[in-house]
């Protein structure tokens, strides 16, 4: 795998990571909810 090819793939992954955040942000604007990831299980009410 040549260094140039490696650089291209690496930059492609960076773009994909950036796109992931943009998509997440757009989705969050439409839906309400915690955004996920933290486990939105509610506490018990006492």
């Amino acid at each position: 795998m040549s260094p140039e090819f490696q650089t291209a793939i690496a930059l492609g992954l960076v773009v994909a990571a950036a796109a992931f955040f943009v998509t997440r942000w757009l989705r969050a604007r439409k839906k309400t909810g915690c955004g996920g990831g933290c486990g939105c299980s509610s506490s018990k009410k006492f």
Binding site: V14, F21, G35
Partner: protein, 825 residues
């Protein structure tokens, strides 16, 4: 007559008068505190407040000042020895079929089938709303029925959890369940209770009311549970009752005759034990039935009240039958009853929530009539309902009186003792934090070795290049640096799950209420704050149980100060860098000190906000103390695995993406030295990169805190997720030193770092400064997003970010500069 607060432990009285404060009186009535009710004082919390009372077979805690407003006469009669009559055997679990109801009806109510042509919003042919009191085992039953076939979302507009699931019925059809928040009454007070009310009354556009209702009743607290359940039954929907905790009821000497209860209420009553799946088959079969009866049970309330409710219901928008003598839609009547029963201060808001329209003025008029013709009608309505419920319970339980739960009493004598109570509480906290350092260290070493081997394997397998660097220095270092803390997080959740499941959490709120009330909150606020030790997001969501909007907002604003699990990796890293070879007890003590710092800061700011920008009265505190239960290890393990899954999912998505982007920022743009010039060093390359430039831009602000530009990069990255700080340090220092993870922990690398003047970067003072900064600052975009939704504004999350980050900066500054002045390093 004497105030309730004057009772001595073990002393019993009979209620003679409720408080003049209508809001307090309404809440007390709904919990069964009525004139003529026998009430026994059990104990008070270690600080003297609140007080725990026993009535109608359950324990209720009330603040002393509120109890002082309730008047009683002392019961001087000797308490009769609870006779041990032969215990009636519990009927075996089976599907109960019902015949025609024998319910006696009030004058103006005629039994009806659901009115023909009445539009019924039914989400699915076999869909159930699952309702019940808090602590009745509703969620345990829901989980047992649906297993993994669950979906968790949110109700739009509020961050109240919407939990739906399904199971396969006896004919292979899907049966859907919607788990609604626990509620004591349809006269809802808290946001989550309003969700239950609104779904049952079909007021939510986003959540059509399920066509049927599954009521979960705690058989060991039948009387109190039936208050809410009878209200639900009055709605006239197809209903099944799951009579849960039949084993507990039997053990306390009050087994319930499900057949008799079913006959009296006119709905199927299925005995179950939610923790034992083998008892659920009859319930599954019942839920699969094609035809579920509509009950026509009513509580036989005074006709003057029923007429008033009918007149208000007739004015309700959408009511075509304006003849108040004719059949009345039971749901319209219930809405009218809720509106009529609301306190004067709440009437307008309740009318808006229920969509009363012109019925509002009708309700005000009818209230005036009721005041004249039936004085104390509010008390009478509730008392009549409880009287009917009392007859139901007497018939179903054969007149048995519950033997008080001696184990719970003995445990509470210890766990809420003036001295031992606090000892046990703090002891448990110490045990939790020391466990995090001791037990977790073994799996942490394994995980670290695993990632090290992976990194080495990638380096060997691939030729040098950017992709190899991304994988080893970015992905493996970044993600691995976070995943390594999974064991510690699991231990934390294990302890929290244990405290919740055993019923100790309620005692913690009981213990802490006095402290909380000093800052203008009450013990219920402690539970969202305690939950925030795991994550502020569910903690903030659980503030929906707090009725007063100002108190809720204050709790939301201070909840992120409680050290969440995301901070744990940062704490562990910095404490290890601070004290590499000290004992785990000292490390545990420092860790606990950080948690204490966050807690104290939360209480201080709560006090400040309640005195200034969110001034308000100290709220009513009424809280049931459930009996202690053996924890369900399966449930705790399930929660731990769920948490682990979510943590790894987050590591595999958000943190992975951040690690990739950070690597890019720390690597590009690359320096292109002129031909013949020497290759730039890793440090020069890092300084030239985007990350380096951001770090350098922040450095003047961070230098007074003892931090340099590399730590600055970590702080910026931590805005997305706090634990990313650790991964960022891994990336930044790996990039700089070129060492891979196998050569030693990140801790060692950090301790070896030197500034340009040769002094160490991560001195004890710097480590402390970073720790304090992380305790106090607002560094979670997800939390800010939830706060925005919960408060429905941008103002409060911005305010929260500013006050927390400002406080963190000031505190770190004082620690570092103050320490240096005192001669520390």
């Amino acid at each position: 007559m004497t105030p309730l607060s004057s009772l001595k432990p073990g002393q019993r009285g009979v209620i003679t008068r409720l408080p003049a404060d209508e809001q307090l009186a309404t809440r007390l009535r709904e919990m069964g505190v009525l004139r003529g009710t026998e009430i026994t004082f059990v104990r008070s919390a270690p600080l003297g407040d609140p007080m725990e009372f026993r009535l109608r077979g359950f324990d209720l805690s009330i603040r002393r000042a509120d109890a002082a407003q309730v008047l009683i006469t002392l019961d001087s009669a000797q308490m009769a020895t609870e006779t041990m009559r032969p215990v009636q055997p519990v009927p075996p679990a089976h599907v109960v079929s019902t015949g025609p109801t024998k319910t006696v009806l009030s004058v103006s109510h005629v039994p009806t089938a659901p009115p023909a042509g009445e539009p019924r919003t039914e989400a699915h042919p076999k869909s159930y709303a699952v309702v019940g009191n808090p602590n009745c085992g509703k969620t345990t039953l829901f989980n047992a029925l649906t297993g993994l076939r669950q979906k968790v979302a949110n109700y739009p507009g509020v961050t109240v959890e919407k939990k739906s699931g399904q199971f396969i019925g006896q004919h292979g059809e899907k049966v859907e369940l919607l788990d609604l928040p626990g509620s004591y009454s349809l006269g809802a007070h808290a946001p989550d209770e309003r969700i239950t009310r609104d779904v049952l009354l079909d007021l939510r556009q986003d959540t059509p009311r399920p066509g049927r209702v599954l009521c979960v009743v705690d058989a060991s607290h039948l009387e109190r549970n039936l208050y809410f359940i009878t209200q639900v039954i009055e709605l006239g929907l197809p209903t099944i009752i799951a009579l849960n905790m039949i084993d507990v009821a039997q053990a306390q000497g009050t087994p319930v005759n499900a057949e008799r209860l079913s006959e009296d209420l006119g709905v199927p009553v299925i005995p179950v034990q939610a923790t034992r799946r083998e008892t659920l088959l009859p319930l599954r079969l019942a839920l699969s039935r094609a035809d579920i009866p509509h009950s026509v049970w009513t509580p036989e309330l005074p006709s003057i009240w029923t007429r008033a409710a009918d007149k208000v219901a007739a004015c309700w928008p959408g009511q075509t039958n304006s003849d108040s003598r004719g059949p009345r839609d039971p749901q319209a009547r219930m809405k009218a009853a809720i509106l009529l029963s609301s306190t004067d201060s709440d009437t307008a808001s309740v009318a808006t929530e229920l969509g009363a329209g012109p019925a509002l003025s009708a309700s005000i008029g009818q209230r005036t009539t009721l005041d004249k013709e039936l004085p104390e009608w509010r008390e009478t309505i509730v008392a009549e309902r409880y009287a009917r419920i009392g007859k139901l319970c007497h018939a179903a339980q054969g007149g048995m009186t519950a033997i008080s739960d001696k184990l719970t009493q003995r445990l509470d004598d210890l766990l809420t003792h003036k001295a031992f109570g606090w000892l046990v509480f703090f002891g448990m906290m110490v045990l939790m934090f020391v466990s995090i350092f001791t037990i977790a260290s073994y799996p942490m070493d394994w995980i670290e070795s695993g990632f090290g081997l992976l990194s080495g394997a990638v380096q060997e397998a691939m030729p040098p290049g950017d992709l190899r660097d991304l994988l080893t220095d970015g992905v493996i270092a970044g993600v691995g640096g976070v995943v390594i803390f999974l064991p510690q997080i699991l231990i934390l959740f294990f302890f929290i799950g244990l405290l919740e499941d055993t019923g100790y959490m309620a005692r913690a709120a009981f213990l802490m209420d006095r402290v909380m009330s000093k800052v203008g909150l009450h013990g219920k606020s402690f539970i969202p704050l305690l939950s925030s030790y795991a994550c502020a997001i569910p903690g903030i969501m659980s503030t929906r149980t707090i009725e007063n909007p100002k108190d809720r907002l204050v709790t939301i604003l201070v909840a992120p100060l409680m050290s969440c699990s995301a901070r744990l990796p940062v704490y562990a890293l910095m404490i290890a860098a601070l004290l590499p070879s000290e004992s785990v007890w000292l490390k545990g003590a420092i860790m606990m000190g950080l948690y204490l710092l966050g807690t104290v800061a939360a209480l201080l700011f709560a006090w400040l906000f309640k005195k200034t920008i969110l001034r308000g009265e100290t709220p009513i505190f009424l809280m049931e103390l459930p009996p202690y239960r053996l924890p369900s290890l399966r449930q705790i393990a399930s929660q731990m695995f769920q948490r682990a899954g979510l943590f790894l999912k987050r590591a595999g998505t958000v943190i992975l993406a951040i690690a990739i982007i950070l690597w890019f920022l720390a690597t590009f743009p690359k320096m292109n030295p002129p031909e013949g010039a020497p290759e730039p060093s890793k440090t020069e390359q890092l300084q030239h990169s985007f990350a380096g430039r951001i770090g350098h831009a922040l450095e003047p602000a961070l230098e007074p805190l003892g931090m340099d530009w590399k730590i600055g990069i970590g702080l910026v990255a931590a805005q997305a997720a706090r634990e990313v700080f650790v991964g960022t340090m891994s990336i930044v220092y790996n990039v700089e030193t070129g060492e891979d993870q196998q050569d030693g922990a990140l801790v060692q690398t950090l301790r070896e770092q030197k500034r340009s003047d040769g002094t160490a970067v991560f001195t004890p003072l710097t480590c402390l400064s970073i720790l304090v900064f992380f305790v106090l600052s607002m560094q979670c975009v997800s939390t800010l997003a939830v706060v925005r939704r919960e408060t429905n504004s941008f103002r409060w999350p911005i305010f929260q970010f500013c006050y927390m980050t400002g406080t963190a900066y000031l505190a770190s500054f004082l620690i570092y500069q103050g320490g240096r002045l005192l001669g520390f390093q």
